[in-house]
């Protein structure tokens, strides 16, 4: 009788345990503990084991080092606003042009030369007051200016205007411009251009004339015989001037809502900027950053690297260092070490954060970048200029990352 009494209790317990397990699985318990939803368990399918993201990124960092150049730390920040002569505090673009600084704002082009500010507006020939990109042809000194309503070539004191009606410009909204010795490359909201300054010929690249999945071009850069286009929604296109051929880099998983694997290729198709330096292609997106050395890709997200935000407006690269303009600070990265700059809006103090592997060191500085929302930046020698949502900032190299700092 006793055993007969126990048997149903045992059976019920098994059923109960089974039900609990079923509830745990079907309700996503495992996914909660794994931090990400694991639908594959629900679907009862095989999960492929992969190394952790952290492990992969750590390996990547040790595999590919920068060229052992010390990672600079910028400091001694100085801020310029309307009180100093800027036409607006909203600064979209900045370019170092020898001894002068060219600044694009939403109310005109400002130029800092010999300590004095000059401002140029549509009355002077500027295509539109909202200047969003600037580059300089270093061979002849011509300044190329992208605005919300056309492109300017500023040469010998004269603003020459290019638009959809008087030239081959793909669209009047010019997000980025890259001035090479012969070709000027232009990224517009509806296609990219290559303008041959020797022959005055325009080439238009869009979804009909190139393998551009979407023609909404946001960033562009050129070096040597190549140009790279950041096509929003279409990844990155690499164009070879010698062969007139494209090579396309896309996010391998093909979905905007996820990144399937780390380091599997371009982090996302919604690209916002490209920079090429010393054999490395750097890419900014609104979903993280990417690096390509011609052989493999690395992806960087804010939860597993020193990157302070996945929302990146632009990227620049000089001397093996990438500069990312994020909505949450200026980020610099040499492939190994991140140094980021932000401001404490309450105290006005600067925050410099150094991240190297698992080590993070934060320093509070008396001077600060003017705002954490960065639109653009340019660096040369030991100086950096930064266009922010609230003012223009500049700093100089005050030290380098070494073991004593870390």
């Amino acid at each position: 009788m006793k055993s007969k009494m126990k048997k149903p209790v045992f059976s019920f317990s098994i059923v109960a345990v089974f039900l609990i397990v079923i509830f745990m699985i079907s309700s996503g318990f495992y996914s909660q503990t794994a931090e990400v939803t694991s639908e594959s368990i629900v679907a009862g399918e095989l999960i492929i084991e992969t190394p952790s993201v952290e492990a992969i990124e750590k390996n990547a960092d040790t595999e590919v080092q920068s060229e052992n150049k010390p990672m600079p730390i910028y400091g001694d920040w100085r801020v310029f606003t309307m009180a100093d002569g800027l036409p607006s505090n909203k600064v979209n673009a900045v370019k170092i042009d020898a001894d002068r600084i060219l600044v694009g704002t939403d109310r005109g082009l400002a130029v800092l030369e010999n300590g004095e500010w000059s401002v140029y507006t549509p009355e002077d020939g500027l295509a539109h007051r909202n200047v969003i990109s600037i580059d300089v042809n270093e061979d002849n000194g011509d300044v190329w200016i992208g605005t919300m309503n056309g492109l300017n070539r500023w040469s010998a004191g004269v603003f020459e205007r290019f638009d959809q009606f008087n030239s081959g410009l793909a669209n009047n909204v010019v997000y980025d411009v890259s001035a090479g010795p012969r070709y000027t490359w232009i990224a517009t909201t509806a296609g990219a251009n290559r303008y041959d300054t020797y022959t005055n010929q325009w080439k238009i690249f869009n979804e009909e004339t190139s393998p551009m999945h979407e023609p909404w071009c946001y960033g562009i850069t050129s070096a040597g015989n190549k140009a790279w286009i950041a096509a929003w929604g279409g990844g990155v296109l690499e164009y070879n001037n010698d062969t007139d051929e494209f090579r396309v880099y896309r996010d391998p998983d093909g979905h905007f809502q996820i990144s399937l694997f780390p380091d599997d290729g371009l982090v996302h198709d919604i690209t916002t900027g490209v920079a090429f330096d010393n054999g490395t292609l750097w890419v900014s997106t609104y979903f993280g950053a990417g690096r390509y050395n011609g052989q493999r890709w690395w992806g960087y997200h804010d939860h597993v690297s020193g990157l302070t935000s996945n929302f990146i407006n632009a990227v620049n690269a000089k001397n093996s260092i990438a500069y990312f303009a994020t909505d949450n600070g200026l980020n610099t990265f040499d492939g190994t070490t991140w140094v980021t700059y932000n401001t404490n809006h309450d105290t006005g103090k600067g925050i410099t954060t150094i991240t190297h592997g698992d080590t993070e060191r934060q320093m509070v500085t008396d001077t600060s970048i003017s705002h954490g929302f960065i639109w653009n930046m340019d660096a040369r020698d030991d100086v950096i200029w930064v266009a922010t949502s609230m003012g223009l900032s500049t700093a100089r190299i005050v030290g380098y990352v070494d073991e004593t700092i870390l």
Binding site: S27, G28, S38, E39, N89, K90, A190
Partner: protein
């Protein structure tokens, strides 16, 4: 005592179930995607899932000076108003009329602190990127926010310009699923998109009606390509890949060869994506050829235009719709009456959707003032809005994640029902 232990055990199980049900009931991730058709859900957990949280705007635009000494509060509008196909421009004018009624109503009730709202409408049909130029124009004219547009291409161009200009936008008419996937923190969409429509069709076709062999016949356009993508992916994830995909060119009127290919593929059902006249013509040619496959399509088949063009062949056609026009909601009926009185005909769905989106925007402006960043903050903080179309649920990408409705022509009448995902038994 033994019974009590059983009860306790049962209670624990119930608590467990309840607890994890609550966890699962938390805000949908992206687009309320059913787990069975989430990308790679049968293969691998993504190492990063975006849109889990709404992106904050960290810029300084809240601190900018915005003019307050204005005589009116300018609201921009971009849409297809002139120069396109007749059905396309009709859509634009429907949207404009719905927007205008909303603005007039709010002005009648006092506008913005005594100032009237002023609608400035611009046409976005033109060369690639026309909407970008128009948005710049609206910005230069002093618009504090913009409504629009319908076309996916034009809407994409516009929202990127909105990001740089830092001007809030409410999209009430584009069904392009990728629009809000761009993560621009200045844009919301108040109408459900083709992703939601695709989910509803996948559910109806595979989970409810049990078809396994489905064909797609679509236009060779970005609208139709993007508009059916989720269906193609979802069908594959449900274990029933689309058996044949046929793409017709703009202007084609004879679909015989495509239909013959579909017939040879032994399809049980056909999903058609294109403009309303194209869909109607295809349905008529299908029936004339003796093809009795079930037909499924977009909201475009649930319109008077489709019924006029397809006639009796509309019978049995199933479409998806952004709201239930037969809901009997008093506010919806009042709007329909007002529209009829003013324009002499019943409103198209784009007019109704525009009315909702415009009221949401104007309510926000009335609440926070003319600072564009604060208007942005307000519209992007909304998770649920009760419009005349019903509940508008904005997900992590500020996209309307449903609910949506399906409808079928039965005996010449439309029967509507709400889409609810039915979990696959497999």
């Amino acid at each position: 005592m033994q019974v009590n232990k059983h009860l306790i055990m049962f209670g624990v199980i119930c608590l467990y179930a309840g607890y994890f049900s609550v966890l699962n009931a938390q805000a949908p991730t992206h687009a309320n995607t059913p787990i069975e058709i989430y990308p790679f859900s049968n293969f691998q957990t993504p190492h990063y899932m975006f849109f889990e949280e709404r992106l904050p705007y960290l810029g300084a635009a809240r601190e900018y000076d915005y003019p307050t000494d204005v005589e009116s509060v300018k609201i921009g509008f971009i849409g297809p108003l002139e120069g396109g196909g007749v059905y396309y421009t009709k859509s634009g004018h429907d949207m404009l009329k719905g927007t205008q009624i909303a603005i007039d109503e709010v002005n009648k009730a006092g506008g913005y602190r005594g100032l009237p709202f002023e609608l400035i409408a611009r046409n976005d049909i033109g060369l690639w990127g026309a909407s970008g130029d128009e948005l710049v124009t609206l910005y230069d004219m002093g618009a504090v926010a913009v409504i629009g547009s319908i076309d996916g291409n034009n809407s994409h161009v516009a929202i990127r310009v909105a990001l740089k200009l830092e001007i809030p936008m409410v999209n009430t008419g584009s069904t392009d699923p990728t629009l809000t996937d761009t993560r621009i923190p200045w844009v919301i969409r108040t109408n459900p998109d083709d992703r939601q429509f695709n989910y509803a069709l996948l559910n109806e076709i595979y989970n409810i009606r049990g078809y396994t062999r489905v064909a797609i016949l679509r236009a060779n356009s970005r609208y139709a390509r993007v508009g059916t993508r989720e269906f193609v992916d979802g069908a594959r994830r449900l274990g029933n890949p689309v058996v044949i995909r046929q793409v017709f060119l703009p202007g084609e009127t004879d679909f015989g060869q495509y239909l013959e290919n579909i017939r040879l593929a032994d399809a049980e059902a056909v999903v058609i994506w294109g403009e309303v006249d194209e869909i109607a013509r295809i349905v008529k040619q299908m029936r004339a050829l003796g093809m009795d496959q079930a037909v499924f399509s977009s909201e475009k088949v649930l319109t008077e235009t489709f019924l006029e063009l397809a006639g009796e062949d509309a019978e049995g056609v199933v479409g998806v719709f952004p709201y239930n026009p037969h809901s009997g909601k008093p506010e919806l009926e009042a709007f329909v009456e007002k529209y009829k009185e003013r324009y002499g005909n019943a409103p198209g769905h784009l007019a109704v959707l525009a009315y909702d989106g415009t009221l949401l925007l104007l309510d926000s402006i009335k609440k926070v003032g003319l600072n564009k960043a604060l208007i942005r903050d307000e519209i992007t903080s909304i998770e649920e809005y009760d419009g005349i179309t019903g509940r508008i649920n904005l997900d992590g990408s500020w996209n309307n994640a449903g609910p949506v409705w399906l409808a079928e022509y039965q005996n010449g009448e439309l029967r509507f029902w709400e889409y609810q995902w039915k979990r696959s038994e497999n």
